[in-house]
């Protein structure tokens, strides 16, 4: 066991950090640009230097580096230290661009990949429907080919950022007679058209993060389809070659725990800091056991990723463990903030590191949002049990009819 990074990785760290020294924050006149412009300028330079968009081919604006989990980790650490911007985030960068690179037509890549990656166009993901959540493949939104266009009717829900997106990638049922999974196609469509109505959904925290989207004869060209008709399900599950962030989740839970400890030190209960109370110490200490287990589990994954091996069942546990820990953290925080637990969440944002009591209330609520989004906790348990432990699939989940 060797917890230091390799000599090559440490040398690479030097390269990264001297690049950052010279390039972030921006200097001179460039400091007067807007923050977004500064980020764009910096990203261009960092990509040029090979630190960002590493798995993206040069022709689409990437830096086309060899896959190397350790270098990627070093870059994240060094950029993190300097608060330097990394890749533009969003569902388009994470999901659509890699899918196009893997399965899209050449003209699609030329038209959308670079602009998506650099945040010039925004996408939303049309997957979930009111009747199709965990059982996504039962989706019912229809796409019918009429002349040269797909005509789309139905409804999507929980569509993050649909109110701001330029385009949507959407799963629709185009082959009503085919079996459940084989009847789905993966289409792209312009959000700016009369057949689409976006209705914001306010979350329990009081903010708008996602929407309902209604399709009433919405249209998209015949060739705006990724993969063939009926291949949408597999396209949406395309395994992607990219550098996984093995320890991002554990770094976030670490940061939450540090804030929680600080809260326990600063909160006065019965005339003394809460952290001096036995019950609080015990609960914090129980949590720290989980935090450390999660952290070293992340190290194990990083080690396996760096050598191109499969880390096995722990990979399947990352999300569930993060959300379980998130629940414990926010429950203890709620006990610490006492009467402030009567207040609302203020302007808390999903995934933000809490500071201030209203932010803890936001965290208390958002920890549920995170547990539900992207495969609920119970779906994660199914995945661990079925793929990790080799238990048989649920009889009902094997049914292959869409209705």
């Amino acid at each position: 066991m060797d917890l230091s990074y390799s000599t090559e990785a440490e040398a690479y760290r030097e390269t990264v950090s001297s690049f950052l020294e010279a390039n972030w924050p921006l200097k001179g006149k460039e400091k007067e640009l807007s923050f977004d412009e500064q980020c764009t300028l910096f990203r261009d330079r960092a990509t040029e230097a090979g630190f960002l968009y590493r798995s993206i081919p040069k022709q689409y604006g990437g830096s086309e580096q060899e896959t190397d989990a350790l270098s990627a980790q070093v870059i994240r650490e060094e950029f993190g230290k300097k608060w330097a911007p990394m890749e533009a985030r969003g569902i388009g960068t994470m999901m659509l661009a890699p899918t196009l690179l893997e399965r899209g037509e050449q003209w699609m890549k030329d038209r959308w990949v670079q602009k998506t990656l650099f945040g010039e166009i925004k996408w939303c993901q049309g997957y979930s429907e009111p009747g199709s959540g965990s059982d996504l493949a039962s989706l019912k939104t229809r796409g019918e080919l009429v002349g040269d266009e797909w005509v789309i009717n139905g409804q999507k829900i929980w569509t993050t950022n649909a109110h701001e997106a330029d385009f949507m990638f959407i799963l629709v049922r185009t082959e009503p007679d085919a079996s459940k999974h084989a009847g789905i196609s993966y289409l792209l469509l312009d959000m700016n058209q009369p057949g689409i109505e976006v209705r914001p959904l306010k979350t329990m925290t009081g903010t708008v993060d996602f929407n309902e989207v209604f399709f009433n004869d919405a249209r998209t060209p015949k060739d705006w389809i990724v993969g063939k008709r009926g291949e949408g399900w597999t396209v949406s599950r395309t395994t992607l070659k990219h550098e996984r962030n093995s320890i991002g989740a554990t770094e976030q839970t670490n940061a939450q725990f540090s804030r929680l400890k600080k809260l326990a030190q600063e909160t006065i209960i019965d005339g003394k800091p809460a952290i001096e109370r036995e019950d609080i110490r015990e609960r914090l200490s129980i949590l720290e056991g989980h935090i450390l287990a999660h952290k070293y589990s992340g190290f194990r994954q990083l080690t396996k990723d760096a050598s191109g091996e499969d880390p096995g069942i722990i990979r399947l546990m990352t999300k569930l463990y993060s959300t379980e820990i998130g629940h414990l953290v926010s429950k203890l925080a709620m006990d610490l903030i006492g009467d402030d637990g009567l207040l609302g969440a203020g302007d808390a944002r999903m995934g933000a590191i809490p500071s201030g009591n209203s932010a803890w209330i936001g965290q208390y609520m958002y920890s549920l949002g995170i547990a539900i989004a992207g495969g609920s906790a119970n779906i994660q348990r199914n995945v661990i049990a079925e793929r990790g432990l080799g238990l048989p699939r649920d009889a009902a989940a094997d049914r292959s009819k869409s209705n």
């Binding site: 066991m1 015990e282 720290e288 056991g289 952290k295 589990s297 049990a385």
Partner: protein, 358 residues
Amino acid sequence: MNFDLTDEQRMLQETVAQYVENECPMARLREIFDGDQGHDPVLWKGLVELGVAGLAIGEQYGGAGLEMLDLAVVAEKLGHAAFPGPFFNHALGALAIELAGSDEQKEAWLPKLAAGDALASIAFSDPSGGWQPGDWSLEAGDTLTGTKSMVPFASEADVIVVGVTGGGMVLVAKGAAGLHCERLDGADRSRRIDDVTFENTPCESLAGGVEAAPKVRDVGLVLLAADAIGGAERCMEMSVEYAKTRQQFGVVIGQFQALKHQLADMALAVEPSRGLYWYAAHALDHVEEDAERTAAIAKAHITDAFMQVARDATEAHGGIGFTWEGDTQMWFKRAMFDRAFLGSPSSHRARAAELGDW
């Protein structure tokens, strides 16, 4: 970064696991578990021949001179098998002599201990319930008079390292005058425990005892955590296996989501914690500033998890899980040992809070 076991460590684990599988199948384990002694000298001798008795003892004394992580990965495999016998107490007794003994004491004991020709144990718990060096209240001069409790395999041990007042340690040899061991009705019949009384019993002081005792304790905590990971993993495997074969309502019960989720939660309690014991063991040799605290957290976290998983496994086996004939009860009782020995999870969490300057 290489946060993983080495090939040598994996081979060591495989060798031990293979030996245990061949020589101590379930029927043999049960025989020993139900027997009078809880220990089979022939089985132990075979393990000794693999080098396990002297794994962390220095090479000049005939040991392998390996690190605490090597010792811990073996403990994991023995825990997985609920291997009956004195591995744990022997390793700690030998370590205490190596860390705290004079050259003469080391010469006298370590070669025999490394070769498995003598057996060591540790007497840390005071009858009043204190496990930590600061709690020890037995006065030591040239002789000892008083009691220690929960001493693993004291009756079989050739030498016992006894924790005494002031946090020091002394040696008492088998057959010493006034030494009396009385076997307790311990839950874990794979690691028997005794009450030990001394009446003007001659003893030898370990000169470096006060400094070494906390380290011996910390190694003990990590070995218990490692044992617990192995045991918890086995509980999970047995439960998964049972869920894949047992049928009700015409299907295997592993198809029912309630049980699947329980099994997934068991896996979640076990698998991510493995790295925690690795790091705690690694820290004992390489990260001094983290060692004591991480050992406390690893012991608290993992032995608690083992106990919970053992309970879940019992439940997942239905009626058979609750019987003496069922296998899970043996791991359940290993979990009780790992959890309580050297102090409860709560007590170590309180220590971790202190050590963290909270």
